[in-house]
């Protein structure tokens, strides 16, 4: 008779075992976090966001402006981080929240406030403008709240301390409420900041009165609107957290045999929503969506090259340029040397062919290169492409710096409908995207997809296990190139012209950041990544100046806290959090053993 060890027996064992005392909140860490927090606050202050016209004075909620909000969010958030209890280890008692959390928050807050106060005193007495061009008199005025420097420094110190305290004290609140407060605040911030966007969208949905109620014209959320939004989302988070509902649990709850149906239903709803998007977004934001869509198309292609096959290509913009220029040459009457003036769809085979050739041209010389070397060489190829189209040598064909103008709009073949409106172009891009997403999934679970993954994991072993590494790598480059070239062709017809300066390194970098932060080898991650990193900056034009600062900060944050991306592919998550998964696996085998032994 096998020994039956039920869950109750296990619990008994663990309660009998002597536990080590709880690990206290680390105050030295709080000092470190406080110093970083101070540095961050001084950085934000010196970058001058507080006093930037049309940025620092954006009203989020009645009376709360973006500049101050972002500055004072730092001590509050990092105070909360500083007061975070140490990770729960097995064999230790759970750390109970207490005065030490508050103390840690205060430490971080004081240090942040002190750093800001010091900065103000220095900047107020010494002219820093030659070095820090944003430290202008209006900025100092804003930071000193119309008081004398000494009083203002005290105010900064005091408010930093208070906010750090608040951040730390939040740990005393039960987790459910904490999540609700956070959720509510984040949504108030988002809805307040994106006033123009929500105003337009609600208007198009025939719910303009909601916007009228929520917002005070041109000045962020009204107090009542802000409170309402906060209450709504806080309640939602509290409810979801209380019921422990997430998308995943909802999916799991559907019986196995009905999953397929449920999936089809969700797909159909998504499709209907997607078809309504241009109407909801309106003309201007449809254009934004199109830009994001073109980037997404590229990102899906790069995701195959980098995410699946592991070939770090930093010159991906080359294929985008090839697509744009091929489309322009074949369709535009303004093409200098050779102008067959085909329609967009008639030119597509040429675009795909040119991309495939470009893929082979770039892929062949780098077949034997790995990792860093591959990255550097492809970076070079990207620049070479731009320089060729810019050169006098190729000017008779590509028009050098003048580019190629008069790229015609897309005409739907059978019906002869010309697409002028971005709201209509959206549907064309959607079709291309649907194809790219479908192809991504189809390839992932195919013989070639597995070969790509095998090369990414261990090229030598892949070859030893029969994968023709040469062919597989070339195919990865070709598929990536084709996706990017389709994006390029759409881009050319969208803006109606192509210029060399549109194909700088930064395009490659942006697409790469999209797929890394979104989640390598994860299609949903890539989609979310391009919405957050391409569409959002287009909506928030006021932040253009800080776009790459935000990219950089986001990348660092992601590498430290979530290296697998927003929506990771399952396997990457497992590799990067190996220990946790290992524990899960162990638990699962234990359960399995129990059930087999009991049964």
């Amino acid at each position: 008779m096998a020994k039956v060890t039920g869950p109750s027996a296990k619990a008994e064992v663990s309660s009998k075992r002597e536990l080590f005392p709880a690990r206290p909140v680390d105050l030295r860490r709080a000092v470190k976090v406080g110093l970083s927090s101070g540095a961050a606050a001084v950085f934000v202050a010196a970058a001058g966001i507080v006093a930037k016209p049309r940025l620092g004075d954006i009203h989020i909620v009645d009376g709360v402006v973006f500049g101050y909000l972002i500055l004072f969010a730092i001590p509050a958030i990092l105070g909360h981080v500083a007061a975070k209890p140490p990770p729960q280890l097995e064999g230790f008692e759970a750390t109970r929240p207490g005065p030490r959390n508050v103390l840690a928050g205060v430490i971080a807050g004081v240090l942040t406030g002190a750093a800001l106060a010091l900065f103000l005193l220095v900047a107020g007495n010494i002219n820093l403008r030659p070095v820090l061009s944003n430290v202008s008199p209006p900025l100092i005025e804003k930071l000193s709240f119309g008081q004398s420097l000494g009083v203002a420094a005290l105010i900064l110190l005091g408010s930093g301390t208070a906010l750090g305290l608040a951040g730390g004290a939040l740990h005393l609140v039960p987790p459910l409420w904490r999540r609700a407060v956070f959720g509510g605040l984040v949504w108030v911030f988002a809805i307040g900041l994106l006033e123009d966007f929500f105003d337009e969208v609600l208007g198009n949905m025939g719910a303009g009165y909601v916007a009228d109620f929520l917002y005070q014209r041109g000045g962020g959320l009204a107090s009542v609107g802000g409170l309402l939004v906060f209450a709504l989302f806080a309640a939602l988070y509290a409810y979801l957290g209380h019921r422990k509902i997430s998308v995943r649990t909802l999916v799991d709850r559907v019986p196995e045999d009905q999953r397929r149906g449920a999936r089809l239903l969700i797909g159909a709803i998504l499709l209907v929503l997607l078809l309504l998007v241009p109407q909801i977004l309106g003309r201007f934001y449809s254009h934004t969506a199109n830009v994001a869509g073109i980037f997404l198309l590229m990102a899906l292609g790069l995701n195959i090259v980098v995410g699946l096959a592991g070939l770090l290509d930093l010159g991906y913009v080359a294929f985008f340029a090839v697509g744009s220029y091929t489309a322009a040459v074949f369709t535009s009457p303004g093409s200098p040397a050779f102008a067959p003036e085909l329609t967009f769809f008639a030119a597509l085979p040429a675009v795909v062919l040119a991309a495939a050739i470009a893929g082979i041209l770039v892929g062949t010389p780098v077949l034997r290169m790995r990792g860093d070397y591959l990255a550097i060489v492809t970076l070079g190829f990207g620049e070479i492409t731009r320089l060729i189209v810019l050169s006098d040598w190729a000017a008779p064909v590509f028009g050098a710096a003048r580019g190629i103008r008069q790229v015609p709009n897309i005409t739907i073949p059978a019906v002869g409908f010309e697409i002028v409106d971005p709201q209509h172009l959206f549907y064309v891009i959607l079709v291309f995207l649907a194809f790219a997403v479908y192809a991504s999934y189809a390839l992932q679970d195919s013989r070639m997809g597995r070969a790509w993954m095998a090369i990414r994991e261990d090229e030598t072993v892949a070859e030893a296990m029969g994968v023709n590494v040469v062919a597989a790598k070339l195919w990865a480059f070709i598929i990536g190139a084709v996706f990017a070239s389709l994006g390029g062709a759409l881009y050319a017809t969208q803006i109606g012209s192509v210029f060399p300066h549109g194909f700088a390194v930064i395009v490659s970098i942006t697409v790469l950041v999209v797929i890394i932060t979104g989640g390598l080898a994860s299609v949903p991650g890539v989609i979310l990544g391009s919405l957050v990193l391409v569409a959002l900056p287009e909506i928030l034009r006021q932040f253009e100046e800080y776009r790459f600062l935000i990219y950089g900060a986001l990348l660092i944050f992601m590498m430290l806290n979530r290296p697998e991306g927003f929506i990771p592919s399952r396997r990457r998550m497992e590799e990067l959090h190996e220990e946790e998964v290992g524990q899960d696996v162990w638990l699962r085998t234990q359960q399995e053993r129990q059930s087999t032994e009991a049964g």
Partner: protein
């Protein structure tokens, strides 16, 4: 009949002759153990046979065809599969996918059939075969394990998976590089039995590098001893184990003199 014949094979790293004018052969259906002290050139021999390293000279003849200079993937396609001393799986791929990869050279569907979904039948076959291969190891690698990543497996299971991957390529010769390294005695015994089953049930010819003499004794039809890249003994386990040069290679000259 010799299925694999190695003639006059050499390979040096700088001044060190890892394999030095080696001659050996493997008969069809036999289990040959390759033994020798550390640095004797055993793993180098495997790397030369599978094409992972270029040779300096000599021939490797598989079925009367010289395979020197072929790419590793071509050599696998001709029927020589291997495992690695320090288990080299595809860690982020699932157990099933790891095995499916090995059928790459036996299947055809490329990128365009995959996009057009013309590969369904072949995919189903690849999948079925992978699952059948994994079932060879009893219940260890099947069921929910199919969809686990290779990295989440225990050490012994990783070794088993590596063998399953080699099996899925339909080899005639399987080269096992220290299949029991790091295993406990029970797992080692299991592996010994498994190597026998691979020959008896799967009809593979097997060359195994092994340090554990109980395993060598348990599985080998024939033992080849290497030292400094040269063959110093070739014969049954008993013959090789009592060969003076082998004892000398392992224990040093003095020990032999005293014995």
């Amino acid at each position: 009949m010799a299925i694999l014949e190695i003639k006059d094979l050499s390979r040096a790293f700088g001044g060190v002759k890892a394999i030095d004018e080696l001659d050996m052969h493997v008969e069809s259906g036999e289990i040959v153990s390759v033994i020798g002290p550390n640095g004797a050139g055993k793993t180098t021999l495997f790397n030369l046979i599978t094409g992972l390293l270029p040779t300096d000279g000599g021939e490797i003849v598989l079925d009367e065809r010289n395979i020197v200079g072929l790419r590793p993937s071509q050599i696998l396609a001709l029927g020589i599969a291997r495992t690695f001393q320090n288990v080299r799986l595809f860690p982020e791929m699932t157990v099933r996918e790891n095995v499916m990869v090995a059928q790459h050279c036996r299947t055809r569907a490329g990128v365009i059939p995959a996009i057009l979904r013309l590969n369904r039948r072949e995919e189903a076959q690849i999948r079925k075969k992978a699952e059948e291969t994994l079932a060879f190891f009893g219940s260890r690698l099947i069921g929910y394990r199919f969809d686990q990543t290779a990295i989440s497996l225990s050490y012994a299971n990783r070794r088993r998976l590596e063998i399953a991957r080699a099996m899925a390529s339909d080899p005639r010769i399987v080269l096992l590089d220290e299949p029991t390294a790091g295993m406990n005695p029970r797992e080692t015994q299991e592996m010994t039995d498994l190597i026998g089953r691979l020959r008896d049930e799967r009809k593979y010819t097997i060359v195994v590098i092994e340090h554990d003499m109980r395993v060598v004794k348990g599985v080998s039809d024939r033992v080849v001893a290497l030292d400094y890249g040269k063959k110093i003994a070739d014969g049954t386990y008993e013959e090789v184990a009592h060969n003076d040069r082998v004892i000398e290679a392992y224990l040093g000259r003095k020990a032999v003199a005293e014995a």
